[in-house]
Symmetry: C2
Subunit: 556 residues, 2 copies
């Protein structure tokens, strides 16, 4: 009798379930649901409370709705009984954080806080705590805090501590009421099991925690703000379990929510990107996985902890037990093209695409494909949503250069794609300069899956072969693997992630090989990118930050 | 019995006639016709001969069609007899140049040259002779040619000599066959009078000629290219007459073409921008006229010749007799917004504008108007068509910076408008640093006439009052004034341009006054503009030129 595991993958705009056969890795069914409130960046659900620039919130109610909808749906679609599901595990965007009561109730569910922005989920791309991140970085540098180097020398405004501090500062009543600040993935796992468990992956990468040294000291936190002195004990308590551990089992209320049977094994949550590494069969150093979606995440295993500037973090056991897990990222990839299509593509193109019966992205790509490398004369800096690696600076903004009166939309579109590829190459070179070798690249996520044109540009720009992860739902598959791991061999699953990977991981036959002529031509353009990258990104001309500061002042 | 004069104004895309009452300046009727071949920048009229990047040609047949259409039309519309027209004069874009036979036949009319791009009219914005301009500049600098300083230290690729040299180089057979290279305005005047006369305005500003020193020496021309040694005597012969002089009178064939009576006085042609200065009543130093159309032209009278880097030229008697005429320019203003609307405005906006029953420019302006200064966080360099003043470099390209995922089309639109205003402020400051005072600004042209939003931004950015020329057809009115001048008092016109201006020139009551808060906010943004202007424009990072060179190589 076949046994199954369910992976639950929560992205920026939707959540999905994937039902997988534990012994073969076969994906039987998948269901996806968009969050009804999507990303709230202008107003709260009340429609009147306005959000300042750089805010990005979500509603935790949406996550519960997704679970209650997609889990029953995959079971029904596949004709599988909940009794044959041995385990389930969740992966989630991070750091996506919310304040909750001790019983798990999100503060935004309380009527008194319904109109308080700080009571909602701060999504990973909430960037309004930049001043806090800067003060953390300044103080950590001054004090020589050794954890700073693990994160490439900079804490991001996207992380846990700046977001908590912003809440304390702007809404002390929310801070006071919160029993915990918790990653949304851990919160949702708690909704299934009834028990709060924090995952070492998100806690390590986003909350400045390490297995060896724990969190920043109370002394450091007090120096930041006296009110923060006990933030770790008071707001971040609870066991921190390793990736691959068992968080618990489905409770009665978890069963009512999900339709799974009480007692089913539940894995510790992970960060959505990281879980895709074993799903692509990567269990040793030397291969980089790039998850390409709205943003991109670059992950890599290493034998030893080395300090690399501008990466997002290095966390022991953070991706696969027994290795250092390195992470870097680009905060704007798919988002880039969506912005472009929504704001910059003329009616004539939209009509022509419609007439041809194709998606506007496809229409643009088909035209962009006909251009030779360098033919447009354009170059862009891919910083529409700041720069995560290697500059770690959310106050950087986008730039495009080279326009003439004959510049066409498909040329700009291609330049934006190339800019994200140059950004990836910068990350790769940064790792190698730091002594972490990269022999092979595997890409996963929607773009890797669907966009041959873009993948070929990446191969040409990076001058490396790029393989493609075998599952269109790499993250959900990874979570299903961790669900099987939570069950353990005795429970119908596996006892190690490598064992699970042997049976369940997948890589496609497709390999994008660099075209030598294009690679040579891109070398020349990449040199220009690097020069502009350093000029605008490393302090020679901080015009982007100054303009952003003016913008903020004017809008406030 | 009232007497009339006709001004013929030839712009980038169309030609127009304006019928004016000589004694009152009243504009009785106007007629306009678009050039059937518009600007040819991809193919010759044969539809198969492809043009390289940076080419911009026109067909001289179009100009003849315009004359034969619009002159009879204004007479008919106003119910005026050709017998009551005392004079006519032409203003034309410059340097817009064509090779002709001794009898005036354009070489492109000959079947043997119909497929030869170099036989057509090279429009002012033809930029494919950039290498020639650079060699002229280098040699002139090496030899210390004193005329170089008159032109701000740089000859532009838009001018006569680079364009002639390109023809010699690429199509020696066209060069050999040509009896003259001539400004289109002078050629068209020749079609009316039967006699070739060159105008001092275009010859001074665009052909490196001065009343005092003549053309560059044959020694200089030989050093450029031995084949050019006698270019002045062989290809640029003919009398050079001052602005305001009489070129001749309508010939029999000129009468057949235009419907005017043989013997009617014809003025010497002028450059379209310059002729608008007296039309706005400017006959003394201290007031700058800005003609704002597809490109912008800035003109100013001065008491003495001073050397100012980066201007287009200073020509004695070039605008008004008795003064030095200074000229500067921006090569992409209205073109900018047309490019944007054609290539970057999403379907949703086009539909919304349609639903509101307004033009898309108006729709964008209404949204852009609601933004506060600095609110968009954007800044642009207005170099989509190179930079004329003060950098004199057609190989510079556009740049925009500050985009985020919430950037909206109207924000980009406004940033482009602001960029052109910053460019104008740079020109004003450059004149003042050079010792030429500017107390007042008057604007003319389509944008000045119609776009209150843009004019207010210019007033705020420049922190000066801006008046508006009184005629919507300032150039054509200026030509009509020169037509009256050609007739002379005895012929029913005037004997001096100041006298003509007293009766015929016009300024509106409208004055745009700077808003102090906006002006202060713009000071901050302008400082950013200047820093980027100098970084990309003065050699710190020649990325724009390198990308343009790559583009050219790839496309050739």
């Amino acid at each position: 009798m076949a046994k199954y595991s369910i992976g639950l993958d929560f992205g920026t705009l939707s959540g999905r379930a994937l039902l997988v056969d534990v012994s073969t890795g076969r994906e039987l069914s998948t269901a996806v649901m968009e969050y009804p409130h999507a990303v709230m960046d202008e107003y709260l659900p009340d429609g009147v409370t306005r959000l300042a620039p750089d805010w990005a919130l979500q509603h935790p109610k949406d996550y519960l709705e997704v679970v209650s909808r997609v889990v029953p749906e995959v079971l029904k679609d596949a004709g599988v009984s909940a009794a044959d599901v041995v385990g389930v595990s969740i992966d989630f965007t991070a750091c996506t954080v919310l304040p909750i009561l001790a019983d798990g109730t999100p503060l935004c569910f309380l009527p008194e806080f319904a109109h308080n922005p700080n009571a909602y989920v701060k999504l990973w791309k909430h960037h309004a705590a930049q001043d806090k991140a800067e003060r953390i970085n300044r103080l950590a540098e001054e004090r020589g805090e050794k954890w700073l180097a693990r994160y490439g020398g900079k804490v991001s405004s996207e992380w846990m501590l700046p977001k908590i501090w912003q809440t304390l500062d702007e809404a002390p009543e929310v801070y006071a009421k919160a029993a915990h600040f918790v990653e949304a993935g851990d919160w949702l796992t708690m909704q299934l099991t009834g028990r709060l468990v924090r995952n070492a992956c998100a806690t390590g990468y986003k909350a400045i925690w390490s297995k060896k040294d724990g969190f920043p000291t109370s002394d450091f936190c007090r120096a930041l703000d006296p009110r923060l002195e006990h933030v770790v004990e008071e707001k971040l308590s609870g066991p921190i379990l390793a990736v691959g551990d068992r968080a618990g089992e489905i409770s009665e209320s978890g069963a009512a929510l999900s339709g799974l049977r009480a007692g089913t094994a539940v894995g510790v949550a992970t960060v959505d990107a990281h879980v895709a590494v074993p799903a692509a069969g990567i269990t040793t150093p030397g291969t980089m996985l790039i998850i390409m979606g709205t943003s991109s995440c670059h992950m890599l295993l290493g034998d030893k902890e080395v300090i690399i500037p501008g990466i997002c973090g290095v966390v022991e056991d953070g991706i696969i037990g027994g290795y250092m897990g390195f992470e870097a990222g680009q905060s704007c990839v798919g988002d880039h093209f969506d912005w472009f299509v929504k704001n910059c593509v003329p009616a004539a193109y939209a009509e022509a695409a419609k007439a041809e019966g194709i998606n506007i992205h496809k229409y643009l790509r088909e035209r962009a494909k006909k251009l030779a490398v360098g033919e447009s004369g354009l170059i862009a800096l891919d910083w529409w949503n700041g720069n995560r690696s290697v500059l770690v600076d959310v106050d950087l903004t986008g730039m495009i250069l080279g326009m003439t009166l004959t510049t066409k939309p498909e040329e700009i579109y291609r330049a934006l794609i190339e800019a994200t590829a140059f950004g990836t190459r910068k990350i790769i070179e940064n790792f190698e300069q730091g002594g972490v070798r990269i022999e092979r690249i595997i890409a996963a996520g929607g773009i890797a899956e669907k966009d041959e044109f873009m993948m070929q540009i990446y191969a040409d720009v990076c001058n490396r072969e790029i393989g493609i992860s075998g599952s269109p739902q790499a993250c959900a598959l990874g979570s299903a693997m961790f669900g099987a791991l939570a069950a353990g061999k005795a429970g119908g699953g596996y006892d190690s992630i490598t064992e699970a990977a042997e049976h369940m991981a997948k890589v496609k036959d497709v390999v994008y090989k660099p075209n030598a002529d294009n690679a040579a031509a891109y070398d020349e353009l990449y040199a220009e990118y690097v020069q502009l990258h350093d000029y605008f990104g490393r302090g020679a001309n901080d015009v982007m930050k100054r303009l952003k500061a003016i913008r903020k002042k004017v809008r406030s």
